[in-house]
C-alpha cells in the first residue's frame, strides 16, 4: 500500500513539474517536449494494439491518416482545427475498423507483414491527389492552432497526452483490456470462453488508430507542414522500438522508451551527426542487459545489488 502511495505521489509530482515547464525551459526545449508528448501518445496507442496480440508495423499510417484528414479539411474547407482534429481521429478509426475486418484473420507474423504494407500503401497514396495532399514533397501552410509561440501548444499537448494516457490506462485495466490480453495469450482459450476474437482485435485496432490519428492531427496543426516521409516505414518501426526498448510489460514502457530514445540524439550537443550511433548503442545495451526493457531497470539493479551482496556474503 505504501509503495502504491509513493508511486502516486511521484506521478502527481512529475505532472506538476511538467506544468511548470514553460517557465523553466527555453523555446527549443519546449519544441522537443511537445514532440515527445506526441510520440508518447502514439507509442502508447500502439501498446493498446500490441497487448491484443497484434504486432503492428504500420502504426504511423494512422498518424498519417489523422494528420492528412485534419490538415486537408482545415486547409481546403477552412474549418477550424478544433473541429477537424477529432475528425482526423475518427477517420483513422474508420480506416482501422475497415482494415481490421480482413486483417482479423491474420495472426502473428502475417499480421505484422500486412500492417507493414498497409502503412506503405497509405504513405505512398499521398501522391494520388497531389493538389489536395501536396504530393510527396509535403503539404505546406496548414492552419495552426495558436500561431507561433510554443507555450500554449505545450500546455495543450501536455493536457491532451495526460488525458489520452489516462484513457488508455483505464481501457487497459478494464474488462475490454482483459479480453485484449486474453486474446493475445491464446485465441483458442479466449474464443472458448465466449470472447469474439475478431471483434476484440478490431476494437483494439480502432482504439489505437483513434488516438494515433488524434496525435497525428495535432502534430499537423502544430508543425504547419506534413510530408508522407514523416510517417513512413521507419517511423512505424521506431514506434515499435520505443515500445519494446521501453518495456512491453508495463504501461509506462512506451512512455519511458519514447522519452529516452527520442531525446538521446538531441542530448549529444555538438556531436549530433554521430547521435544515431549512440541511439543504436542504447538499443543494443537495452536488449542485451535489460531484456524486459528500460522500465525493469530499477528492479534489475536491485537484483544485481542483491546478487553482489550475496556473493560478498559467501566469501
Amino acid at each position: 500500500m505504501k509503495e502504491r502511495q509513493a508511486k502516486r505521489f511521484s506521478i502527481v509530482g512529475l505532472i506538476v513539474l511538467l506544468f511548470l515547464g514553460p517557465s523553466i525551459l527555453e523555446s527549443y526545449y519546449l519544441h522537443l517536449a511537445i514532440m515527445v508528448f506526441i510520440y508518447v501518445m502514439v507509442a502508447s496507442s500502439l501498446r493498446t494494439v500490441y497487448i491484443s496480440g497484434q504486432f503492428s508495423l504500420g502504426h504511423a499510417a494512422y498518424m498519417a491518416i489523422g494528420a492528412y484528414t485534419s490538415a486537408v479539411l482545415a486547409k481546403s474547407l477552412h474549418l477550424t482545427p478544433w473541429c477537424t482534429i477529432p475528425l482526423g481521429g475518427l477517420a483513422a478509426t474508420a480506416v482501422a475498423v475497415g482494415i481490421g475486418f480482413p486483417f482479423a484473420r491474420l495472426r502473428a507474423v502475417y499480421f505484422s507483414m500486412a500492417s507493414l504494407f498497409f502503412g506503405i500503401t497509405v504513405t505512398s497514396s499521398a501522391g494520388l491527389a497531389p493538389k489536395l495532399t501536396g504530393g510527396f514533397t509535403g503539404l505546406h501552410g496548414i492552419p495552426r492552432l495558436f500561431g507561433f509561440t510554443r507555450t500554449p501548444y505545450y500546455y495543450l499537448f501536455l493536457a491532451l497526452s495526460l488525458v489520452v494516457l489516462l484513457a488508455l490506462y483505464r481501457i487497459e485495466h478494464s474488462r475490454i483490456g482483459m479480453t485484449f490480453k486474453g486474446v493475445a495469450q491464446s485465441h483458442l482459450a479466449a474464443s472458448s470462453r465466449g470472447i469474439n476474437e475478431a471483434g476484440v482485435r478490431i476494437t483494439a485496432l480502432a482504439i489505437g488508430g483513434f488516438f494515433a490519428g488524434i496525435a497525428g492531427a495535432c502534430y499537423a496543426h502544430y508543425a504547419g507542414f506534413i510530408a508522407p516521409a514523416q510517417f513512413g516505414v521507419m517511423t512505424s518501426i521506431l514506434l515499435v522500438v520505443y515500445l519494446i526498448a521501453g518495456g512491453k510489460g508495463g504501461f509506462a514502457g512506451p512512455i519511458v522508451g519514447t522519452v529516452i530514445l527520442y531525446l538521446t540524439p538531441y542530448a549529444m550537443g555538438g556531436f549530433q551527426g554521430y547521435a544515431p550511433f549512440f541511439q543504436a548503442g542504447v538499443l543494443i545495451a537495452v536488449i542485451f542487459l535489460i531484456p524486459e526493457g528500460m522500465i525493469s531497470l530499477p528492479g534489475q539493479i536491485m537484483s544485481w545489488l542483491k546478487r553482489g551482496a550475496r556473493e560478498r556474503g559467501s566469501l
Partner: protein
C-alpha cells in the same frame, strides 16, 4: 514496338533477378533463424558503396571489386550473426530491435562517409549487343547472366548438398535438426554470410547499372518483403516466382498505370494477397 517489348522484358528480368538475389538471402535467414532481418536493405546499400569504394576509389575495376565486395559483406554477415542475431534467434521482437539498431548504424555510417549525393559506377561492360535489329545494353545482359548463374548454383547448394539439407532441416524443426547432429550455430553463420554476401553483391551490380544512394535501403527492403509475401513466408523455391512478379509490377506498373498510382497499387496488391492467401503462392502456413 517489338524492340520496346523485348527491352522491357530484359528490364523486368534484371530487376527481378536483383530482387530474387536479395530476397533469397532474406528468406534463408528467416527460415533458419526466424529473424526478420530489417537490416537487409541497409546491407544491400552498404554493399553497393563498398563495391564503389573498391572499384572507383581504389581503382581495382569492377571484376575485382565485385568478388571482393561479396567476401567483405559475407564476413560482415558472419559478424552480425555471431554478435547481433545469435542471442535472439526465434525472438521476433528483440531481433527487430537489434535489426533497427543495425539499420541506424549502417545508414548513419553511410550518411557520414558517403554523403547525400548519388554515386555511379562505370558499367561492367561498355557498349551494346545487337541481336538482329534489337540492341541491348551489354551491362544489363552481363548482370542478368551473373545473377542467373549464381542463383542456379545457390539452388543446387540448397537442394542437393548436405549443408543445404541441413538448412532446410533447421528451417523445418531446429530441435530435431540439432538432435541429428547439425550444428545450428555454424549453419546460421553460413546462411547469414550467404544472405549478406548476396545482398552486397546485388548492391554492387545495381550500382553499375543504375545509381547508388543511401535511400535505396528502404525501398529495396520493402520490395524484398513484398517478394517474400508473394512467394510465401518461409518458402525458398517460390522466391523465383515472387521475384518475377514483383519485378514485373515494379517495372511495368508505371507503363500501364499513371505514375503516382503504380506504387500504392503494388503495395495494396501485396496486402490483398496476404489477406486472401496468407501462405503466398508457394508457401505453407508456419
Amino acid at each position: 514496338m517489338v524492340s520496346q517489348v523485348i527491352g522491357q522484358i530484359v528490364n523486368v528480368l534484371m530487376t527481378s533477378s536483383i530482387y530474387i538475389m536479395v530476397a533469397l538471402g532474406f528468406a534463408l535467414v528467416f527460415s533458419v533463424m526466424r529473424i526478420m532481418n530489417f537490416a537487409h536493405g541497409a546491407i544491400y546499400m552498404i554493399g553497393g558503396f563498398v563495391c564503389y569504394y573498391f572499384s572507383v576509389s581504389m581503382d581495382l575495376g569492377p571484376w575485382v571489386a565485385l568478388p571482393l565486395t561479396t567476401c567483405v559483406m559475407a564476413l560482415f554477415g558472419v559478424f552480425i550473426e555471431k554478435f547481433c542475431f545469435r542471442p535472439f534467434r526465434r525472438d521476433f521482437e528483440k531481433a527487430t530491435v537489434m535489426a533497427i539498431a543495425l539499420v541506424t548504424i549502417l545508414k548513419t555510417g553511410a550518411d557520414l562517409t558517403v554523403g547525400p549525393l548519388a554515386k555511379g559506377m562505370p558499367p561492367l561492360v561498355a557498349g551494346s549487343i545487337n541481336i538482329g535489329p534489337i540492341a541491348f545494353g551489354a551491362d544489363r545482359l552481363v548482370v542478368l547472366f551473373i545473377v542467373c548463374l549464381l542463383l542456379t548454383a545457390l539452388i543446387i547448394l540448397v537442394r542437393r548438398t548436405q549443408i543445404g539439407q541441413a538448412m532446410l532441416a533447421i528451417a523445418h524443426d531446429p530441435e530435431a535438426a540439432s538432435l541429428m547432429g547439425i550444428n545450428i550455430n555454424r549453419v546460421s553463420s553460413l546462411v547469414c554470410a550467404m544472405g549478406c554476401g548476396l545482398a552486397g553483391l546485388a548492391g554492387g551490380l545495381v550500382g553499375s547499372v543504375l545509381v547508388l544512394h543511401v535511400s535505396v535501403a528502404d525501398s529495396i527492403l520493402v520490395r524484398t518483403i513484398g517478394v517474400i509475401i508473394l512467394s510465401g513466408i518461409g518458402s525458398i523455391g517460390g522466391i523465383w516466382a515472387g521475384g518475377l512478379a514483383m519485378g514485373a509490377l515494379d517495372t511495368l506498373g508505371p507503363y500501364f498505370l499513371p505514375f503516382v498510382m503504380s506504387d500504392p497499387f503494388e503495395f495494396a496488391l501485396v496486402v490483398l494477397i496476404l489477406i486472401i492467401k496468407p501462405q503466398g503462392f508457394f508457401g505453407h502456413e508456419l
